[in-house]
């Protein structure tokens, strides 16, 4: 990789500044990408990473600064211009047309003759690229049938199909399972080996250290430092990013468990395609207890969470909340009973992007005092509480009246967490609560979950981050194809390998015994 250090950069951004009203998102940033390297952008939520890359991708126009591609000054006014210059970006929320097939998505929006090539030629090219970079995906499949990981592959494929030489990946791993991350990294390595440049954004420091050749750290829109990706430690990176030392260990007290809050009895539920997703699932959680659910994404976790908050019909079985049978109850009754739900899909479900912070707080509170009286809303009280959440959860925002889609990804997540974790929920169903959060915020949110536990809330924590579920949970259940493979009573007494076997569908008795006898 050393030879690449001397090569001329593929793209060079100089003195880039961009302000949104009063927010300085980027202030005089210098950034470049050389052929054959992975250059990582690291920084707290709202540091300006996505803004910088959106500028490179032609979505935003910088207030000042220059972009040079292979030594030539360029000015992009749309992603189309950027891709024409060889710069492709994969956003965290995908930009695919769900009802079309993979190959149709490839040629969508292509200029000129390329859009009307025969299907055979297109599919041939797709197959060439996918074998070369290990991006296996069925060209005839419709996008909505694909898993999140596969959709991401299609996005990358689409950029390579358009002959991108520089690929920007904005938090690509937050939606992936560990296996898929591994797979993605192989693809990235193949691309850099061929001289492509990759910009990588992630909050997971282990990943950053594994894949980066260089790391540029941003803080409040400015470059703190650009350092080599070799020989750095996690602690060092975290400190440079946040400006203080970060504790990675979780400090958990032993609690006496209270009454049973949630009990499910043989719950079955279907997924969106009408196939069984949760099968005969029984579990219970008591006050002051965190039940972790580990499993590979797409094994019924989302369906389970939705069934437990009334959003998904239950085919068989019962859901009992504090002794009351809630099977078939309307979502609002779950909310009123004190069930907080943190969905994984914050943009599509947890928040309304076009509405402001106050309105998004009100989303889950409009039905109760003091936020409404009778048929009328009390915006004053809403604003008061929203302001407190913004302060407590450190949501960086120019005000309470801006649409939440203008907040950075991590700040949106903070707002949603603030809404669900403030107040006195009885049951918290949390799906991937620390997705997209920087290290500081992750620490804070874990702390908040533990505080709710100490207060007496029952918590169902779904996460693909094994380290996270193992550290936070009092008990840990492993889910596979909608079934519980086993419940571990002491998450610290089980190895990641044993969990891995259970996640692959081997029941606990066999998994644990099998390990020991080896």
């Amino acid at each position: 990789m050393d030879s690449s250090m001397q090569q001329a950069p593929l793209v060079e951004m100089r003195g880039i500044s961009k302000a949104f009203a009063t927010v300085r998102a980027n202030a005089g940033i210098d950034f470049d990408v050389r052929p054959g390297e992975v250059h990582t952008l690291l920084g707290e939520n709202g540091a300006g990473k996505s803004t910088l890359m959106n500028i490179l991708n032609g979505l935003y126009i910088p207030d000042s600064g220059t972009i040079r591609v292979k030594g030539e000054n360029r000015r992009f006014s749309s992603p189309r211009d950027a891709i024409a210059a060889g710069i492709g970006m994969v956003h965290q929320h995908f930009m695919l047309v769900q009802v079309l097939t993979v190959w149709e998505n490839m040629i969508m929006g292509l200029p000129g003759l390329e859009a009307i090539l025969p299907k055979k030629t297109v599919i041939k090219r797709i197959q060439d690229i996918s074998t070369r970079y290990g991006l296996g995906v069925e060209p005839e499949a419709r996008v909505w049938q694909l898993s999140v990981g596969e959709q991401q592959r299609v996005e990358i494929l689409k950029m390579l199909y358009r002959r991108a030489e520089i690929l920007v990946l904005d938090e690509p791993t937050s939606v992936l399972t560990p296996q898929e991350v591994h797979h993605l990294f192989n693809t990235i390595r193949q691309m850099t080996a061929e001289g492509h440049g990759v910009v990588f954004i992630s909050h997971k420091l282990d990943e950053v250290m594994e894949i980066s050749d260089r790391i540029t750290i941003l803080r409040k829109g400015e470059v703190v430092e650009t350092l080599s990706g070799r020989n750095v430690s996690k602690e060092e990176l975290a400190e440079k990013m946040v400006g203080r030392k970060v504790v990675f260990a979780v400090d958990k007290t032993v609690l006496n468990l209270g009454e049973t809050v949630l009990e499910t009895d043989g719950v079955c539920a279907l997924n969106d395609r009408g196939l069984p997703a949760v099968r005969n699932l029984s579990l219970s959680i008591r006050e002051g207890e965190i039940l972790g659910i580990a499993g590979i994404a797409g094994n019924g976790q989302r369906e389970l969470c939705e069934a437990l908050s009334g959003l998904r019909p239950i085919q068989f079985g019962r859901v009992i909340l504090m002794g009351v049978d809630m099977t078939g109850a309307h979502p609002i009754e779950f909310i009123k009973a004190g069930v907080g739900y943190i969905p994984a899909d914050r943009k599509g479900t947890g928040l309304v992007g076009s509405m402001n912070l106050r309105e998004n707080f009100n989303l889950k509170n409009f039905w109760r005092k003091p936020y409404s009286r009778g048929i009328f809303l009390s915006w004053e009280n809403v604003a008061g509480e929203t302001g407190r959440i913004v302060e407590r959860f450190g949501v960086a925002t120019p005000g309470l009246g801006v649409p939440v889609r203008n907040l950075s990804g991590g700040n949106q997540q903070r707002l949603m967490l603030g809404r669900e974790l403030s107040g006195t929920p009885r049951l918290i169903v949390a799906m991937q609560p620390t997705w997209g959060l920087d290290v500081g915020a992750t620490e804070f949110v874990r702390d908040q979950l533990l505080r709710q536990r100490e207060r007496g809330a029952a918590i169902l924590l779904v996460s693909e981050d094994l380290e996270e579920v193992m550290a936070l949970s009092d008990r840990l259940a492993v889910i596979h194809k909608g079934e519980i493979m086993g419940v571990v009573d002491d998450p610290r007494g089980v190895t990641e390998e044993e969990l891995g076997l259970m996640m692959a569908g081997i029941p606990m008795s066999a998994a644990v015994r099998g390990e020991r006898s080896l």
């Binding site: 609002i332 947890g350 309304v352």
Partner: protein, 356 residues
């Protein structure tokens, strides 16, 4: 890159554009219309002066403009309500007609002499008629996901034909010398007018409802639910908002307000119904709602503008002896430019060379 300018996406729309865009659009339309008028052999200046005078220049013109703005406002509020939750009630015309028909029925069969009682009965009947007419489409949508655009549109034709059946048939006025129209309303069923003009108390009702809708959207739980559903139906479900119930309710209220528009038009202005009595207010209302960006108070102003355009066009026909078609082209140009102006809300034009 040979074009001398390029189009860039705007991130947000500065406040001054909210005023500059409509004003610029109208100016552009008038300019384009001037060319048209010139080739028709008419002095554009004289034509525009006549239009302006006709619509706003004297008490008569002004009152005509207001009289047209009243049903437009009411119907605009009605469709705006359903649009807010992204349900497309484009059947305001049919609901308006049903409201008018219900008012006629009340006048025919309820023998009351008291004007307030009469008003109350007509009001309730019209609201119910329009509300149920739209509510039926709402029910089909909520229960079986039937596309409301099609049902509401089709039900317009049913409503209009039904009304014509009554006008030509059982409810035709025997003393109308064979003309298809219903009997004139008795005095008790007519709305009070302001001064000696044709402007009736429907004006007050329209403004009152606009303010009421503003309060509804801003300050009530139901209005909040409507807006959330319209912005993100998934999030609304997640927040425990009931989509089916809200579709039904929104369609009912939307239809009810459109029905009231019909009743007000008949009781306030025409005093009877005849074929084509609505002049397509229910359709124009869709344009009103969009131009007002679903804002209730904006709806009042946009209705007034469109009312002026209609009246001004009439004047042009009479004074300038222009054919009806050319007047409609002129009106179309203005709408075209205003709608086209929306582009500048999202994009801006930048000369090439800047920043390079």
């Amino acid at each position: 890159m040979s074009a001398p300018f390029r189009v860039e996406r705007r991130l947000d729309c500065p406040a001054w554009l909210n005023w500059a865009i409509p004003v610029g659009a109208v100016a552009t339309a008038l300019l384009a219309g001037a060319v048209l008028l010139f080739f028709l052999g008419v002095s554009p200046l004289a034509a525009y002066t006549a239009m302006f005078r006709g619509a706003l220049g004297d008490a008569w013109g002004l009152s005509e403009t207001i009289v047209k703005a009243i049903p437009l406002t009411l119907a605009g509020l009605a469709v705006g309500l359903s649009f807010t939750m992204v349900v497309w009630n484009i059947g305001a015309e049919g609901q308006l007609v049903m409201g008018a028909l219900a008012a006629v029925a009340v006048v025919r069969y309820a023998f009351v002499d008291s004007a307030p009682v009469m008003f109350f009965l007509m009001f309730v009947a019209a609201a119910l008629a329009g509300g149920l007419w739209a509510g039926f489409a709402g029910f089909l949508k909520a229960r079986w996901s039937v596309n409301e655009i099609i049902t509401t549109l089709m039900m317009n034709y049913i409503a209009i034909l039904l009304t014509e059946y009554f006008i030509y048939g059982p409810w035709r006025d025997p003393s109308s010398l064979g003309f298809p129209m219903t009997a004139p309303f008795p005095a008790a069923a007519r709305l009070a007018v302001l001064g000696g003009t044709r402007v009736h108390v429907g004006l007050i009702l329209a403004i009152f409802l606009a303010l009421l809708f503003r309060v509804l959207y801003r300050w009530t739980r139901w209005g909040f639910e409507l807006r959330v559903i319209g912005n993100n139906a998934n999030a609304a479900r997640y927040a425990g908002m009931d989509y089916m119930k809200n579709v039904l309710l929104a369609m009912f209220v939307s239809g009810a307000v459109a029905g009231i528009a019909g009743m007000i038009e008949v009781a306030g202005l025409q005093g009877r119904i005849q074929p084509g009595f609505s002049a397509g207010y229910g359709y124009t209302a869709i344009i009103v709602a969009w131009l007002a960006r679903l804002n209730p108070v904006g709806t009042v102003f946009v209705s007034f503008l469109l009312g002026a355009l209609l009246v001004g066009g009439d004047t042009l026909q009479v004074v300038m002896r222009l054919p009806l078609a050319s007047v409609q082209v002129l009106q179309g140009l203005i709408l075209f430019c205003v709608l086209g102006g929306e582009f500048f809300r999202n994009y801006r034009i930048v000369p090439v060379g800047k920043g390079e």
